[in-house]
Amino acid sequence: MFLPLIGLAVSVILASIGFYGIFNTKNIIRLLLSSEVVLNASILAVFSLTFFSGNTYSSFLLSVFGIGMALTEVVVAFAAIILYYRVKNSLEVA
């Protein structure tokens, strides 16, 4: 039980860093990048928790769907950011 426990601890640390990045900036792209840190942390947590639940296929499929939706989210968010930049000529959130 050594590695999964460390994996969970690392994922919690990564999520904390990601949330720090989210709360500590007003830049939209930095918000997006920080949310990606949280996504990586959550995927690592899912695979670490597999050792506690024993269901490998569910964690695999959950992570695959998560990665696919993350790809969609990044592209949609970036389109919105580009529109925001064209209108406001800035990347800062009010």
Partner: protein, 167 residues
């Protein structure tokens, strides 16, 4: 589950430290382009850490993570960032961000370690993934999420083409 070797533990700790330092660079560096490049290293080190948890069971997902997440998502981010000028950061966020994150992060780590070391009793072993079984489960049980994912990825493709036209 294959027996955990010492080199596996050392590599896992190394990649964990690497992913934490990459995450710190992402949230602290002034240049957003460097932050996006650090996201590449974060994705790769996370994939390596996942594979090292149990190489027999998770190696396939690790390759998937590198190919789809690092190869598509992060590369899209990096290339898209090039179109912006003056990417240096100016604004600052909440001044409570550091103490709040430090307190809640430390509490969460302590809680995870406490629960894991004291309450956990059984040991589950992840099974080795079979592609046939994965496709069967996808078609039989998860067909609706798969459909949503396909539609979303198709919309993403159209959106990327629209962005590339620049009009």
């Amino acid at each position: 589950m294959s027996p955990i070797s010492e080199i596996q533990i050392v590599l896992f700790l190394l990649f964990s430290a690497f992913s934490i330092s990459s995450a710190l660079i992402i949230v602290n560096t002034k240049s957003l382009l460097y932050a996006a490049f650090s996201l590449v290293f974060l994705g790769m080190s996370t994939a390596a850490a996942i594979a090292l948890l149990d190489p027999e069971a998770f190696a396939f997902y690790s390759v998937f993570h590198v190919l789809l997440y690092v190869g598509a998502t992060v590369t899209f981010l990096v290339i898209s960032l090039v179109i912006f000028k003056n990417l240096e950061l100016t604004g600052e966020g909440s001044r409570w961000a550091i103490p709040l994150t430090a307190i809640f992060g430390s509490l969460a780590v302590i809680a995870v370690l406490y629960v894991g070391l004291t309450e956990y009793r059984g040991t589950f072993e992840p099974v080795q993934l079979s592609l046939g079984q994965v496709s069967y489960i996808l078609v039989q049980q998860y067909w609706f999420p798969s459909l949503i994912l396909v539609v979303a990825l198709a919309a993403t493709l159209i959106e990327a083409v629209t962005l590339a036209r620049r009009d």
